[in-house]
Point group: C2
Chain length 213, copies 2
């Protein structure tokens, strides 16, 4: 994040990867990114370094960088780490929630219900991420929120894949609804339990997608 140029390149790259252009394994040629972002090659280079440190891209000496490929096994391992951290955030959020944050959480939940009812998977995926962002903010625990954010970023593709499975959004919505209720009712224990229980369910769902290999 040093210079503005590097920040620009980093943002563009991150968004392109998270959006799904540049799929996993995609070769990141520096010259191409220079043309794409309009910044100098060194800035691109630093941006790649930064994203490599975050685990979004993989760099191999003399062979360039590629968008990181996250296997299902890795996705499970990452979620195993994320689970208790989200539990921590949920607990803290339940303890420290302001009234206005509670209102916004409830409103957000309604939006999510509507998205599931209308079958808009893409929108629902985005709303889930926003929900976790709101919880992370309400928890006032920047360190945990930052860790979770990095882990989350590595999982977007798998989460989206999951939400395409018929019936999955409905299950997820039920669990997240319980989470929101627990937090807005300021019940830390219940909130933590709801969060861990949700991610346990995610792990189970992930395991079903690729038990072979």
């Amino acid at each position: 994040m040093a210079s503005a140029a590097q920040a620009t390149a980093e943002r563009a790259l991150r968004e392109a990867i998270l959006r799904g252009d540049m799929p996993p394994g995609y070769r990141l040629v520096e010259a191409e990114l220079v043309a794409l972002t309009g910044v100098s090659r060194s800035a691109v280079r630093l941006a790649i370094d930064a994203l490599a440190a975050e685990g979004l891209v993989e760099r191999i000496q003399n062979k360039g960088a590629r968008v990181r490929v996250v296997s299902t096994e890795e996705a499970i391992a990452i979620t195993e780490c994320r689970m208790p951290l989200e539990g921590l955030l949920a607990r803290k959020a339940a303890e420290r929630l302001t009234d206005s944050e509670a209102d916004r959480l409830r409103a957000h939940l309604h939006t999510m219900v509507a998205a599931v009812d209308s079958g808009d998977v893409l929108k629902y995926s985005a709303l889930i991420q926003q929900l976790h962002g709101m919880v992370g903010e309400a928890a006032r625990h920047p360190i945990a929120a930052d860790l979770v954010g990095r882990l989350q970023a590595q999982l977007v593709r798998h989460q989206f894949r999951l939400s395409l499975r018929p019936g999955r959004p409905r299950v997820s919505l039920g669990e997240l609804s319980e989470l929101v209720h627990a937090i807005t009712e300021r019940d830390p224990d219940r909130a933590e339990a709801a969060a861990t229980s949700h991610f346990r369910s995610v792990i189970t769902a992930l395991s079903e997608t690729a038990p072979e290999s």
Copy 2:
């Protein structure tokens, strides 16, 4: 870790910071590090970037880098994140421990007892870190182990400070002894409980050192 030069600089810097030369707040002048490590300035620069991404170093635009200052509040927050992750590692280690690893864990525990008995705080601190390293390895969960490693690195100074308090090593040893026993007896639930309970104790001890501010 791209080139050998950068790896050299990164290792030297990390060790210097963790060892305690270069205390928190210490100004990292690039030219000085060039003289110290014998590598080029660009390599030093990349090494600083890498350590900044790990949270060991803080970089401010146009004002250079400093060894990160971790307040007691931050140390508590970091430990809150570390706690459940160490619990996860302890659980996995208990599930996946090999016999030879069990032997080494038990032997390591004996060494730790001896260090505490002889009052060698410095050695005991190092042994604790090694213990966690062994657990992390036995857990065969590289993602969690990596996360914990990064968090641990930010805490070395606080952990050392804690271990200087009279009586603290004895308390810590008891908790870690329970952890080792639970793992070597392959009891995942007990292992996880022992790990979380130990770090809860660490958080309590940290809170006592600076409840003001």
